[in-house]
Symmetry: C2
Subunit: 585 residues, 2 copies
């Protein structure tokens, strides 16, 4: 039975002091909204060692209630909130990297925030703490990075609010960031996500113990309002399916906990418990300040403005989303990827299949899924050599060295890996499973999780020299659209397919009146084939004619006998497979 | 530009007194949880006239914050909350029906609730008001129905909590209900939906003005907590897409309203406004009582228990869900339908495509979509005669009169209408669009909105004499599963399809090496056909053989020449279409 009270909180609750450092920056900090803080203090931790050329620093950015402790520093240390991702030999490998993580501006885990003494008054800022933004948080991190002697960041990595910080770093300090890893984040929150935050802040700020934010020293703090806000937050972090799994079978049997909140329903006791736990470790003013920073984070209300925001970025990107995340839905991550591809930036993207909801970025089982992507992006040691398939040999013959290539349906990325070995300047694969995305990325090539039934990722016109569609066209419903798009983003398309009118297939159909079967793409039965399209060579040539597409080269193969079809033969009868090099008139 | 503040509240805010009636039941009311209320008063309204045989009464059940006023009584009257559905000539036609609607037990719009004077103390019940359930609400409605001289209900109709009341009526008073219309409801709330209610109630009950529920007469009431609960409710009633549409472009420009709540973000001002409006018209104790009734509504934690709950129902059902409703997701409605079909009950189902979220059941634009379904179920005047297609003529020849038939892919229900005219005892269609569902229902036949790619609705074994698959099999991926299911729920299956090996198609393919095209199902090009399967007659016979399916009859047609294929011909070459009557060995 699942422990109902299991929560990502359990690993977020302790910020051990043993490795905690503090940096004081006495210079005034100008904030985005015009106010100034008279100096800031930053709580941080580091892992590993900065190498000689200072090229191995990785900055980890935490989410709303996180802290500077993503991982344990030694076996006796408390576990951190990203233990599965950060550590010796892990995706963010502290044996190879110098890892930095600091508590955010406005927080309550050591960095200057509303609970800090205001030097002007001698009492905590409280409601006098200015409105801070994600940009301000990043500016403070920049001071820390400078202090540590780091001149550029091998990577900035974060989820949720941490992902916003990554986006901000990459667009605000483009010269400093080599790789940006954006997990479960977006260019701006949904209106729905803001609405939940509004209700949470209203609960805090209308709590009579809030005292307009000046509750420090009163012996009170807005426990009830903060607990309500946290309960609400927890609902939005979980998927509905996960809540059903945890709370549905025994919904009328709440755990018997000491609480002033409602004591009905198992999910009610869970929420009361989470609220209570949180109130003991977090400051309400910080909760207000940080959620406001999230809600105000905004890379633009329109696509044009968002493009402007991303235009200056110079990093390569990894974007990760979670299928059941409804607070930062995958569609928002795909939109980030579309901005990056539109601008010709290097990006890999994967949507992780999980019922973990937004919390997935902190869940060990889901970290296991996306850690290989992060490791690949951070240049972890390569896996096996790419396997050499005859299909790929033929395609490689048709592509000049130094061509840029997009491979639609790239599988494990073997073709792309071989193109890379030949020195191709720009490569990208498109696939639909996490494993294939990871395998392709492990060859050091970008891969994008995208459904070709929808179309292509939004690349600009003529982005690639070649777009490859090898044994792909027969499974998509929208053949014309896919070909049009391939010839928009590529100067040429290479289409490889099995000829459905090959002699043996024609005989099966023509003489026996049965749906033909052949080795390769058409080795299935008519009633269970994954294929949706069954073109002959002539069909494909007819379609090219109709679409005004030029067939620059055509190669036809008799695979059974391992030979190329001669000019004196009818390829539509004699060829088992075909490779066409297409371009627009 | 959409008015951000437009809300279903605007039509829910007034309960005019002119037509409001009150019924007092002095007999004690035993409640489900063991307590007793010393008599109840019920506020209600009626429309139209009870006919002589008392067979035209329709009970309308309202949702959480509704009242007894679903529609105007005359042109000068205030509009009601279901104006688009109820009235002269509308789906619930007050010219033909005697319509009853009462405020629920526990409410604050005239029926006994926490604000009512407790005769034992002489002050309002407040927190002494007992825990009431949907069953108790329905028991009170039963008293009213009896008082009005109604012996059975032509229909009970409701959405959300109103839908729960309908489910309760149909299972608790099965002899009284002829038709049950269940809109945007479920056998029990999701854990997530309960969680939102828990937070809302906690906000109310921790408000210092709540005074443990005894705030009447103190001059205070828990305005803040109730407003917070309402804000939260509003988020769950809207879809995320609708919120984006309303609030996203000018998110940083809140409307300037007078409020003690946060004044940031356009969605923030909307929530503050809705909270404030609500506090002026609703009692916090009623909100607590009614949400608890919803959360406790539970027709069973397991499928078996839910089946037990439904087993006694004798009505025919109409279930309606909304695609973007995430508070009562369509999957829950489909599960209701599955319980009903499993038990062999008569049910029609439709999922309305909308971005209106849970609120859709109150939105005029969505009422327009489901009103025709309600009208059809309540026997509104019939539309045109069914059209007679030759395909259907041939199928009708194969089905003996008095056979029960399930038509998979029933289109507008023409075949079913003709079967009905012949006196078939049990008919049902399966389709995927609201228009087709409505058209089929208008023939007086049940139709179920279901994706055949998933399978069939959960009918019991042998529920139908015949299952018809006419020009349907070629578009589904899971042919074997669909045939298996068809032969599980039907004693026989009739499969009609176009023969892909017909002479002209073979010639196109065999001689020209091009994907064949033919009139009918295969009139598309290879690259844009909606078909996924291309069986010949021989292919289909081979599959039957493999599956152990008996071909009882086979009819083959030369449609071009309007003749049946003779015994001396090869049907796989000569027939354009085929009709097979199949059964299991």
């Amino acid at each position: 039975m699942v422990d109902q009270f299991e929560s990502t909180d359990s690993v977020r609750s302790g910020a051990p002091l043993r490795y905690l450092r503090s940096a004081v920056f006495p210079e005034p900090l100008g904030l985005r909204h015009g106010e100034t803080l008279p100096g800031v203090e930053v709580a941080y931790e580091t892992y590993g060692t900065l190498n000689e050329d200072r090229s191995n620093a990785v900055l980890i950015c935490h989410a709303i209630t996180g802290d500077s402790h993503p991982a344990r520093h030694d076996p006796d240390d408390d576990p951190g909130w990203w233990e599965g991702l950060v550590g010796p030999g892990k995706a963010v490998d502290t044996d190879r990297m110098f890892v930095i993580c600091s508590n955010v501006l406005g927080g309550c885990r050591g960095t200057t925030g509303p609970g800090t003494i205001n030097p002007a008054t001698g009492i905590p800022y409280g409601s006098d703490f200015p409105l801070v933004t994600v940009e301000d948080m990043v500016d403070v991190q920049k001071r820390l990075v400078d202090l540590l002697g780091v001149k550029s960041l091998r990577a900035v990595v974060g989820g949720s609010l941490g992902g916003h910080q990554v986006l901000c770093w990459a667009t605000r300090y483009p010269e400093y960031v080599k790789t940006a890893v954006v997990i479960a984040a977006s260019a701006r929150l949904t209106a729905q996500a803001i609405a939940f935050d509004v209700v949470g802040r209203n609960a805090i700020q209308t709590d009579p113990s809030f005292h307009g934010g000046q509750y420090y020293g009163t012996g009170e703090h807005p426990r009830t309002g903060l607990a309500l806000a946290r309960m609400l937050g927890h609902i939005t972090y979980l998927s509905s399916d996960a809540m059903t799994r945890k709370f549905d079978l025994d919904r009328h049997a709440p755990r018997d906990i000491v609480t002033d909140f409602e004591k009905r329903f198992s999910v009610g006791s869970y929420l009361a418990y989470q609220g209570k736990q949180f109130v003991g470790r977090f400051d309400a003013n910080s909760y207000v300040a940080i959620t406001l920073a999230m809600d105000n984070f905004d890379l633009g209300a329109t696509r044009e403005r968002r493009l402007d925001s991303f235009r200056g970025a110079k990093c390569d990107w990894l974007v990760v989303s979670f299928s059941s995340d409804w607070l930062f839905p995958p569609a928002q991550s795909r939109e980030l990827v579309a901005l990056m591809t539109t601008l010709g930036q290097s990006v890999s993207y994967c949507e992780i299949e999980t019922d973990g909801g937004h919390d997935s970025f902190l869940l060990p089982k889901d970290i296991k899924q996306f850690a290989p992507l992060v490791a690949a992006k951070l240049g972890a040691p390569k896996p096996n050599e790419p396997s050499s398939r005859p299909d790929d040999d033929r395609i490689l013959e048709l592509i000049p060295a130094n061509s840029s290539v997009l491979d639609l349906g790239c599988g494990e990325g073997d073709l792309l890996a071989r193109l890379k070995a030949r020195g191709a300047p720009l490569l990208c694969g498109v696939e639909v499973s996490t494993d294939l995305i990871a395998a392709t990325m492990q060859h050091g090539v970008d891969a994008i999780d995208y459904d070709l039934n929808v179309g292509l990722p939004e690349f600009p016109d003529g982005r690639f020299d070649y777009v490859v569609l090898s044994s792909t066209l027969q499974v998509v419903p929208n053949v014309e659209h896919l070909l049009e798009e391939a010839l928009r983003v590529g100067r040429r398309a290479i289409v490889g397919f099995t000829n459905f009118a090959h002699r043996t297939l024609r005989e099966m159909f023509g003489l026996e009146g049965r749906a033909p079967k052949a080795p390769g793409s058409y080795s299935y039965d008519w009633y269970n084939t994954p294929n949706r399209r069954f073109p002959s060579i002539q069909d494909m040539l007819d379609l090219c004619e109709k679409m005004g597409v030029v067939v620059e080269h055509a190669r036809y193969y008799d695979d059974t006998n391992g030979r190329v079809i001669g000019d004196d033969e009818d390829p539509n009868l004699a060829a088992e497979t075909a490779l066409l090099v297409l371009s627009k008139r």
